[in-house]
């Protein structure tokens, strides 16, 4: 069982959206520093792959919407 050590944390008071935003920024801060080294070439390749896949997905969503309508 791998419960995160920070399961009980102090959170800001406020509504659901405020607490959700806080959690998002807290996680982003906690994992800000990667532990694996990635070369620049690898980073750019991953980004290119990611953009390529997102474009494909967007086209598929547009196609799906056009077929439904």
């Amino acid at each position: 069982m791998s419960d995160h050590p920070n399961d009980v944390r102090s959170q800001p008071e406020g509504g659901f959206l405020r607490r959700a935003a806080w959690q998002f920024t807290d996680i982003t801060r906690r994992y800000r520093t990667p532990h694996s080294q990635m070369t620049k070439a690898l980073r750019w390749s991953l980004m290119a792959l990611r953009i390529y896949l997102v474009v494909l997905i967007l086209l598929l969503v547009i196609k799906f919407a056009s077929l439904v309508h």
């Binding site: 069982m1 995160h4 399961d7 906690r30 694996s36 990635m38 494909l56 077929l67």
Partner: protein
């Protein structure tokens, strides 16, 4: 004098025994090995059989009806590919003690972590909808209204997880895995020709008509249904939740291999059933196949319908757990099936939220369910390379994996699989966007 290792001590002990005690000793060791295997077995078998979800069963049924036995060899190939990919998650989970989402966040940072998590959420939720589509379609054959089916599914899936023990959940899931094998007796009931199956299906060949656009599309659909992003997250999280350690990795590999064999067997038997009885008949889904099979053989039709429902149920449970585990790992919630609902409220809340949302979509009047099923498979296949690339990078991290990192041979195989899937998923997406492109 160097102290003897445990293995050397055992070997020396065995050599000094007589014949009968030696045989008894070997027998006891073998039984102990099997005992550990059965204790560890679970994640691999469950993820592989759940891989034959509602969308998968539909794809296999359509493949059999369109091409008969011709692609049985291809199922064997895909089973091997799935084993290769899933085996990596066993090593990763057992060594890092982290789920896949947390491992990506930890190793590559928040930017790539959020991308992976968003991918998982989108594909999982969309795939959950197809599971409910399959389950409601299957139960409609027996006259059960979709709304009743959805509620029954919610109750079953809720009961499975709320008892507060991972081991109990696993045993229930394995029970549903056994039901998934119902296609085997269905195939035996129709008495197919073994010689035909061997010559047309087992020996690799292209079907009559050769490499057409439709054949390509169906091949890609089969690839997309065999390896899905959720499988990587699910198996790694179950390995962690089960508490598997380094010395359990060998058993985890056997577990995954047995699961791969079962998944290939189920796929092949579905091809045999529809290939023999529905060859040349245009069918849209597995439910459609079951309806057409009923007048031909009541039992075969019933078995196919039950199998479809079971496939959807197993798929839905595993997929929603994959998402819940991923969120729990990243957000720091208690996220184990060994926690009850009071101990892990957010983990179970997300699980039920996923189920409720997906089940509700299926009940929307006029929802284009067949179109949704088709596009969800394409989207899942398209996003698969992104998940696989991170898996390979993690398995090559020397600091993370130590002696369990990928060998050169494993890297060559894994990278080849990723490149192949990128090319094929591109073609798959393009063929969905431009249906006449490959005709």
């Amino acid at each position: 004098m160097m102290p003897e290792t445990a293995t050397l001590q055992q070997e020396n002990r065995r050599k000094t025994m007589g014949l009968v005690p030696g045989i008894f000793y070997r027998y006891r060791r073998m039984m102990k090995w099997f005992g550990v295997l059965f204790a560890v077995m679970g994640p691999g078998v469950i993820v592989m059989i759940a891989d034959n979800d509602a969308g998968g069963i539909t794809t296999y049924a359509v493949t059999g009806a369109t091409y008969g036995y011709s692609l049985i060899w291809f199922m064997v190939f895909l089973g091997w590919v799935a084993y290769y990919v899933q085996e990596m998650t066993v090593r990763l989970g057992a060594i890092t003690k982290r789920g896949h989402a947390e491992a990506i966040f930890y190793s590559f940072g928040a930017f790539w972590g959020w991308f992976s998590l968003i991918d998982l959420v989108i594909t999982d939720w969309l795939t959950m909808i197809t599971e409910f589509i399959g389950m409601t379609a299957a139960m409609s054959i027996f006259g059960i209204p979709p709304a009743v089916t959805v509620v029954i599914c919610w109750v079953i899936m809720g009961t499975m997880v709320l008892q507060g023990r991972y081991w109990t959940w696993e045993k229930i899931a394995l029970f549903f895995c056994v039901i998934n094998l119902i296609y085997i007796p269905a195939a035996f009931l129709i008495q197919p020709s073994i010689s035909d199956i061997f010559h047309k299906g087992v020996i690799p060949s292209l079907p009559p008509g050769g490499f057409t656009g439709d054949f390509f599309f169906l091949m890609m659909a089969n690839i997309g249904t065999t390896i899905a992003p959720w499988m990587l997250f699910f198996q790694q999280s179950t390995v962690v939740d089960k508490g598997m350690r380094k010395k359990d990795i060998q058993f985890g590999k056997v577990d995954t291999f047995l699961g791969a064999v079962a998944t290939v067997v189920v796929a092949a038997f579905i091809l045999i059933v529809t290939g023999k009885l529905l060859f040349g008949v245009p069918i849209e889904s597995a439910a459609d196949a079951a309806i057409r099979l009923m007048p031909m053989n009541k039992y075969v039709g019933t078995f196919v319908a039950i199998g479809l429902f079971d496939a959807g149920l197993l798929g839905a449970v595993c997929i929603s757990l994959a998402s819940s585990w991923a969120f729990g790992e990243v957000f720091g919630w208690a996220h184990s099936l060994n926690n009850n609902i009071k101990q892990a409220p957010w983990f179970y809340s997300y699980y039920f939220f996923d189920l409720l949302l997906a089940g509700t979509v299926v009940l929307i009047p006029g929802a284009p369910l067949v179109l949704i099923t088709l596009f969800v498979q394409v989207i899942a296949t398209t996003l698969l390379p992104a998940a696989l690339v991170f898996l390979i990078l993690l398995l090559n991290d020397r600091d993370l994996m130590g002696e369990y990192r990928n060998t050169r041979r494993q890297n060559i195989m894994s990278i080849s699989i990723v490149v192949l899937i990128i090319v094929l998923s591109t073609c798959y997406s393009l063929s969905a966007l431009f249906p006449d492109l490959f005709k």
